[in-house]
Amino acid sequence: MTRFLTLVRFELVKVLARKKAFLFLLALNVVPLLASVIALLVYLKMKGLGLGGLEYSVLVEMVRGLFTAHMLLFGWISPFFLALVIGDSFSGESGRGYLKLLLLTPVRRWQVVVAKALAVLVFLLLAVALGGFFLQLDLWVARAVTENPAMIWDVKPATTVLVETSAALQLFVLSFLANLALVGFFILFSMFSESPVLMAFISLIVLMTMQTYVLMAPYLTRLDARYGQVADWCFTRHLSRLSEIKTVQGILGKTLSLADPWVREPMVASLGWAAFFFLLAIAVFQRKQILS
């Protein structure tokens, strides 16, 4: 067990040492961070000048909007990041011989697959949580300043908590499941290629084609019901449901919970697909010949 944990830590260190990881962090967080800081400055500055201007409740609405945007952005760019990083950690490492060295240590092969997946997921969720946490911090600053009568005088009772802990945890679980399935999907592809770029492109093309088909399916179904049946087997439709704006806002606004069929069904389906991809990937990896 300690060996497995060391392996996960090692993989995490490797992910963090990559420039891709840093760039992903930047790409994911730079828009919400900048926008929220600007909104905060506008709010405080206008208050300070006595111009009235931005109401606190408006600020809360803005930050909440940013939070939703952050979640959506995450849903869009995480597949690209995952494709690149997993391409590196399987195809790339296999091509460079890192994998060979790793398998000369007494770790089991399935542990390698699971540890690499875990490391990427941990990083991914920390990255998205960082943005969320910053937005929350934004509101805390606004509230602290607002409630300080020495600086600002129109104290208004308002919602100061952007995301309640339960909603945050639920969103976390959704992101985890959606990305778990994606990680499994990419790992499966990376078993068959030693070139990380090639693997990333091919798997992303497959993913996009699948999602395009899912989006076209409702219209095609009018022609023939079988088109819809095929679309049912596209796993991306569950993932897109999980990161859809309606789902995120529903959970934030407490109109939806994980127990709701709208969320529960794609969750269960994603978990099933993830299990399928992982088992298949591990089975392939067990038989893989490490030759370079």
Partner: protein, 338 residues
């Protein structure tokens, strides 16, 4: 092929094909426990493939393997815990320092202290380069780090694939001393593949020679080299070579005679050298030097793995010399010989 003492590695009927190319065609060998064994074979003989299969990096088509008493690849995890291995070039993480690489990969076996990592780095002469990233290392340095990693946990079995590849002469001597030291101090079995034959001869007490995916010869070096004949080099005054060759071949104790780079190379039945000298001097041929050639693994190796026959360029047999004189002609010096 059966050895009475316990074996560290035993391989039986190992076969492996890549597509249509058969890399291993029923390999058998056994490395005795506590031996320093050399694994020899020409390029493409299947050495690295064998090590890959042994260490569970690729599955064998058929055949049985056993390491440290456990079947492989079934007992992979417990075996690898007690094995230090280096297969082909060591491929550590380029952007990690030598120290970090050792520490991380070492920790995957069992917890390792910083002192131990430092100590091992010192033993292979990498203390100064410990903080440097692996990508900037030279080939020899990479190889040293690979050996350092293999010996990190004081393994019972050390498997090294061409460990001195790309090292300078000092590095090779140092590595040889290091391996001897480890063998003496920790009693580990060492199994190393190499194409540097004199190195293997100096270090190993047991050899396995493979060619075309089959074991050609295996046994203790001493036994393999005992061939019942001696090789001597006879140097005579200029212009006397032809005459000397004629005289020598007339001797019953002389098995063969051919011209070497600086004199005549003759094979004798044991104990005939004094007689040869007497005959030559008696016939008025001035003998400048009579030099014994120690039996070398190289000759045995070439003889065992030489299949083309027409490799004797540059070593023309003396006209009219013995029948077998050309048969064991040596090809041009193999590259790695120092």
């Amino acid at each position: 092929m059966t050895s009475p003492e316990s074996t560290a590695i035993r391989v039986r009927g190992l076969r492996k094909a890549f597509g249509r190319k058969e890399a291993l065609a029923g390999l058998d060998f056994a490395v005795p426990d506590g031996a320093v064994a050399g694994f020899l074979g020409p390029n493409g003989a299947g050495k690295t493939t064998t090590l890959r299969l042994l260490l569970g990096l690729a599955p064998a088509d058929t055949g049985e393997m056993e390491m440290l008493g456990e079947p492989m690849p079934g007992g992979r995890v417990p075996v690898l815990e007690r094995t230090g291995a280096l297969v082909e070039k060591p491929s550590f993480l380029d952007h990690f320092s030598g120290f970090d690489n050792l520490w991380w990969f070492g920790s995957l076996n069992r917890p390792v202290t910083r002192e131990r990592v430092g100590e091992v780095l010192g033993r292979v002469g990498l203390t100064e380069a410990a903080g440097q990233s692996f990508g900037t290392y030279s080939t020899g340095m990479k190889q040293r780090l690979g050996v350092a990693y293999a010996i990190l946990h004081r393994p019972r079995l050390l498997i090294l694939d061409e460990p001195t590849n790309g090292m300078d002469p000092q590095g090779r001597v140092q590595m040889r001393d290091l391996l001897r030291e480890i063998h003496a101090a920790e009693g580990s079995t060492i199994f190393l593949s190499s194409h540097l034959l004199d190195e293997v001869q100096r270090l190993c007490d047991y050899v396995v020679i493979v060619d075309h995916g089959k074991t050609v010869r295996e046994g203790y070096v001493g036994e393999i080299l005992q061939s019942g004949q001696e090789t001597w080099e006879v140097r005579v005054a200029d212009g006397q070579q032809e005459r000397a060759a004629g005289l020598l071949l007339a001797q019953p104790g002389v098995l063969s005679c051919r011209s070497g780079p600086r004199g005549l190379e003759i094979r004798l039945q044991p104990g005939q050298s004094a007689e040869v000298n007497r005959v030559l001097v008696g016939a008025g041929v001035p003998v400048v030097a009579l030099i014994p050639h120690e039996a070398s693994l190289e000759e045995t190796f070439i003889a065992l793995t030489d299949t083309e026959g027409e490799t004797g360029h540059g070593n023309r047999p003396v006209p009219g010399a013995g029948v077998d004189s050309g048969a064991k002609a040596r090809p041009p010096e193999p590259g790695g010989r120092s």
